[in-house]
Amino acid sequence: MAIIGLFFFLPVAAAFVLSLTDFDIYALADLGNLRFVGLRNYGELLANPLFWQAVANTLYFVVVGVPLSIAASLGAALLLESRLARFKGFFRTALFAPVVTTLVAVAVIWRYLLHARYGLINYGLSEIGVRPVDWLGDPHWAMPAIILFAVWKNFGYNMIIFVAGLQTIPEDLYEAARIDGASSLRRFWHVTLPGLAPVVLLVSLLTIAGYLQLFAEPYVMTQGGPAQSTVSVLYFMYEQGFKWWSLGTASAVAFLLFAMMLIVTVVQLAIARRRGVL
């Protein structure tokens, strides 16, 4: 408990105090230049259009990315658990591999893949007659490109959880459904999904919490650009904190992000409870 206090509560409390000050480079030079400003950092953030753009970008990433990611994980898990699948061990490892790769290294590779003129993705698109897309240079395409990359990088993790979930659904339920003449689609809808409901809830909670903390992908691939279209809340915090050294503002961003995540999680749990999953 003391260790948790030292390494968790103390830093959090310190960060909260920091968010009530105007810690900046002047304070870095001399602590005598530090002022307590109360909730002013929070007020200024809520009036800052770039902060709201960062919130909007992050929500875009979550709203599109999380369902895509869960669908990809579930699809891959179903394929792996299908009776027709062969070399299951190999595919399970191969699909899980992106999760354990170093994000920065694969982000650099994806930057090559996404390159407007020489990238493999545009080459493939040109083969089927699609005009080249300036993935990371066009404000409209930069976020979809990042979503694509993030989904590819992360779906393996949830896939493993789904595989475990699928194995807990008793085989006789499927058999009974088959005897009743249910099609494979209906079996998925009425047997697999209800059986997986708690797993889906867990996975979506974890994925949303993770995706709200989008940072490394834009940091490595776009530096928040073009036209600030990939500035996420965390990237905004990083810029405030380490580019401009406004640590007071950066701490306030962290607490606002925490509040956002708390609200989203509480809402999710409430919905789950009403649906009877919990």
């Binding site: 002047y26 870095l28 003129r117 530096q223 580019k243 401009w244």
Partner: protein, 428 residues
Amino acid sequence: MTARPSRRAALGQLAAGPLAACSRGGGDGTVLKFWAMGREGEVVQALMPAFERANPGVTVQVQQLPWSAAHAKLLTAFAGGSLPDVCQIGNTWLPEFVALRAVERLDSRVLASSVVTPSDAFGGIWRTNVVDGGLYGVPWYVDTRLLFYRRDLLARAGFGAPPTTWAQWLSAMQAVKRMVGRGAYAALLPLDEYEPLLTLALQQDAPLLRDGGGRGNFRSPGFKTALAFYAEIFARGLAPPAADADIGNLYDEFARGYFSFYVTGPWNLGEFKRRLPAPDQGAWMTAPMPGPNGPGAGLAGGASLVVFRRSPRKDAAWRLIEYLSTTEVQSRFWALTGDLPARKDAWSAPALVKDIHAAAFREQLERVKPTPQAPEWERIATEMQLVAAQMVAGRLTVDEAASEIDRRADRLLEKRRWMLARGRGTPA
């Protein structure tokens, strides 16, 4: 400076450079830590063996930082007490590091030096290194923005020489625009770069900040004149309301005549030579910035070398700065990187004299002005450009934009005013 090695010896060392770098750190001599950014950090390693031979017992450890992360890394290193001895620093960052009291004053060392001579530096560039009356950096290489233009298109539009005044520039742009028609433009002033507008603003007499750097001075008639001229270029359809990234491949577009004037910096000398198709190589030229009435001022940019205050090896650090400031090393550094020399006499190197595209930079550098020396300046300039982009998009008038920039600047300068009032800041 001590005797310099012969050219052949220097070349031999150049080849041995990477190997020597691996074996450094041994012995009980002085190890000098030197941080340099981007391409400079890569290339400067080749210059170190000659310095080490001239200074027995001193080895230099060059660490290369990427430009995009350099500023944050330096601040973090300051907070963590792990700054190097010598460092390359963007000269607009200097006020910030002076405010942090991180950099050593160099006045007395320069006074005593026979190598670093203010008289051989460009005045405007030198002044960027003087903060609150103290000298904190020595110019390493210089940078400014000016016109890259299509000589052939300008001639076809009836202009044999590049414009030197705003009025000439405007009529040249209008003539080019009439000639190229709807699908193309006369100029490219990327909306995501503050340098073009800032250059126009520096050409006015009015300072950009007032009250000792405690408030914005963007509602001054001078700044409004510059802002109105900038707005007019877009309002008349002479420049596309686009960011750099929207242009796609701007070298192709320049070759195609999509725009004929481009306000940009010296790194594009090399890029234009490399990237423009061979038939177009004779068609482009550079010219100093036109001003309100005759050749105008430019932006004093570039990088300086500083010694950090906490360094225990300041004498050796200063010797390295002197070495990098010698005429010969400055010329070699230009040959290796294309970075323009900070020393005027390095400009008389035959290869540089022969470079017809560099000549305009030489002329412009005599007329460069520093930006205001407030640590917040970079953020203010960023905000200025965001507001200017809104003005170009038609959401603000010139007067409204000027007031909005002032409002944002005053907000960013709030802490500075408080500092100045308590006598803690350094007035800009």
